[in-house]
């Protein structure tokens, strides 16, 4: 088990380097000048002193060959120096760590909503195969998969935020709210809509997956044996079927972690939620080079780690694979 984990982690290293090269090339192909923001902030200084531009280019190593720039960047991220954001004028790492909790709050809530809804619906649909409930679940899943998240978000804003005025339509909190419970309630009200929109779309994917995984297991001989031995349905499904069906389900749920971050970009933009996705979107639009490249790399690392997590979980939850490992090792 340990050696498997070690091997999988080592395999990530070359992939990490190739990804970093691709991301670096992409960002360098992006139009826009890193000094543009600086020039716009202070046009007069640049107009009076044309040499200043050349000096600054020299200072920021903007005219170095690409390969030198790449290794500089790589060295810097490996020692944890992510540089400054030209847009916000503060260190990128500070920005990322101030936005990350917001994104985590949103994605984890959406993730929990997703699991809490998808598990019972998926299980019930599999148990009552070909019932009305099962068919409506299938249609519901199709609807969820086909919903454009931004449209869903906009319609939710129009209905619940503007027409009914039940929920706030954007942001993280209302300015000027005090008192622990008031703040908590206010945060919660801001969280509901984005989290439901983000979670709902995932529910549709998971319901179908859970149903399929469980159906496959329910077909097995040992399930029939369990019934034959007189175990009641509840026991058979929970103790025998679900335990085996959980193996692929857990894997797919772990594999979907990056999708939450990706989907969060759109949902955060629509709801003006100050998280990583919106940070990156603004960085790309404003050609804030340091911020964009490091946010992107950060997301890529999260994707790699959740793939690793899925692989490891697969081995952890499936005792058959572990046995195999022991035999070999």
């Amino acid at each position: 088990m340990k050696s498997y984990f070690f091997k999988r982690t080592l395999e990530l290293v070359p992939i990490f380097f190739v990804i970093s090269i691709i991301i670096f090339m992409l960002l360098n192909a992006m139009p826009g000048d890193p000094l543009l923001q600086m020039r716009m902030d202070n046009p007069r200084a640049f107009a009076q002193d044309p040499e200043r531009l050349a000096e600054l280019r020299e200072y920021y190593h903007l005219d170095d060959p690409l390969i030198v720039k790449y290794f500089d960047w790589l060295k810097n991220i490996l020692i944890g120096d992510l540089g400054f954001s030209s847009q916000y004028k503060i260190p990128v790492s500070e920005l990322i760590f101030s936005r990350l909790p917001n994104t985590l709050l949103l994605t984890v809530t959406a993730w929990i909503i997703g699991i809490v809804l998808a598990l019972p619906i998926g299980i019930y649909a599999a148990v009552k195969k070909y019932s009305v409930f099962d068919y409506s679940t299938t249609v519901f899943a199709f609807v969820g998969i086909s919903l454009p998240s931004f449209w869903f978000a906009l319609m939710a804003i129009i209905l619940f935020g503007v027409i009914l005025q039940w929920l706030p339509i954007s942001g993280l909190e209302t300015y000027g709210v005090t008192g622990f419970w008031n703040v908590f309630l206010d945060r919660f009200r801001h969280l509901i809509m984005p989290a439901i929109v983000l979670g709902f779309i995932q529910v549709a994917f998971w319901v179908r997956y859970i149903r399929a995984a469980l159906l496959e297991v329910l077909d097995q001989d040992y399930i029939r044996t369990a019934y034959a031995k007189g175990a009641n349905e509840r026991r058979v499904i929970i103790r025998h079927a679900l335990r085996n069906a959980m193996i692929p389900i857990i894997t797919i749920i772990a594999l979907d972690i990056p999708y939450f971050f990706g989907g969060a970009l759109i949902v955060e933009t629509v709801f003006a939620w100050p998280g990583m996705g919106r940070l990156m979107y603004n960085a790309v639009l404003a050609s804030d080079y340091n911020l964009a490249i490091n946010c992107l790399m950060f997301l890529a690392i999260i994707t790699l780690l959740s793939n690793l997590l899925a692989d490891v979980l697969y081995v952890v939850v499936d005792p058959r694979i572990k046995l195999d490992e022991r035999k070999r090792g």
Partner: protein
């Protein structure tokens, strides 16, 4: 005469054995017709394609014609079936033109990326060895890059015309097809009939084209529909974020972007919900029916179906 007699005999034999009758394509078609949602999907999609590609020929209003006498006209008002926006653009007409762009981008990029994926998958699976290893690692890498942010950057790099959006969606759309096709090719390569044609001295290209390609085509068709729904959603998301198709040329995504400014209501206090509702609803309906179609095709093209039914 002898031929048709033999046909009759075959049919009879099949009927007696309880297996469905007909050629492969007939069987696929029959199976497809049984799938109600898939038929619905096909009908709706054909209607949408006719509506968006030929509809504009029958209306006189162009997508950038402005009617200043009717600004923010609600749906079902005179001359404007689905209402108008802030400068009197007719929403119905713009939805037709926008659908043209959205469907064109979706269809072209999904077909091209599927073909690229198919070719790379065939090569990787058939050659095996170091090439396979390299290509598959490359696919792993491409799949670990967070897709949507990269699409954002690519659309900045390539600009935002129809052609560049198609290119952006194609560059990052081929990997899943490659994986699928490569997996199938690997197993088909070891099959007896491929072995047989190898021993008979058939050259490799012919083996791929005659023996492997026909077997992977069904799964490729199904993946194309999945790619199509994905491409339509991505294009509309990009356009919604202001990085896809640029106004005044309408696409369903950028119509939604345009409606964002009035989502809280106009200065006169009205809420022009129709600007947001209709373009998004059409994206939703299109993607939904593409998914229905894909599901039906998967059922119909599944090679195991003869023994099952």
């Amino acid at each position: 005469m002898a031929f048709s007699l033999k046909r009759k005999y075959d049919d009879l034999e099949q009927e007696i054995s309880g297996l469905p009758v007909g050629s492969y394509s007939q069987l696929v078609f029959k199976k497809f017709l049984k799938h109600k949602l898939a038929c619905l999907g096909a009908v709706v999609l054909i209607t949408l394609i006719i509506f968006t590609f030929f509809g504009p020929l029958f209306v006189e209003t162009a997508y950038d014609d402005m009617d200043f006498s009717a600004i923010f006209a609600p749906p079902l008002s005179e001359n404007h079936f689905l209402g108008t926006d802030e400068i009197g653009h007719d929403v119905f007409v713009r939805i037709m033109y926008g659908g043209r762009i959205s469907l064109l981008v979706g269809i072209v990029s999904s077909v091209v990326s599927t073909i690229i994926g198919l070719i790379i998958g065939l090569i990787s699976g058939f050659l095996g060895g170091i090439w396979d290893e390299l290509l598959m690692r490359f696919v792993d890498v491409m799949l670990s890059i967070p897709l949507f942010p990269v699409l954002l950057i690519l659309s900045l790099v390539f600009g935002s015309g129809v052609f560049s959006i198609i290119m952006v969606l194609t560059v990052f759309g081929w990997m899943r097809v490659t994986r699928l096709v490569r997996g199938m090719t690997l197993s088909l390569r070891e099959s007896e009939y491929v072995m047989a044609s190898k021993t008979m001295g058939q050259n490799q290209v012919m083996i791929i084209l005659k023996h492997i390609l026909p077997n992977v085509i069904p799964i490729v068709i199904v993946t194309t529909t999945l790619n199509l729904s994905y491409a339509i959603l991505s294009e509309s998301s990009l356009s919604y974020l202001g990085l896809g198709i640029q106004p005044p040329m309408p696409s369903w995504g950028n119509m939604l972007q345009g409606s964002m400014s009035y989502i809280l209501g106009t200065s006169t206090g009205h809420n022009p919900w129709w600007l947001t509702f209709f373009p998004g609803f059409l994206i939703f309906i299109t993607v939904l029916n593409v998914n229905f179609l894909g599901d039906g095709l998967r059922d119909a093209l599944d090679p195991k179906f003869v023994s099952e039914s």
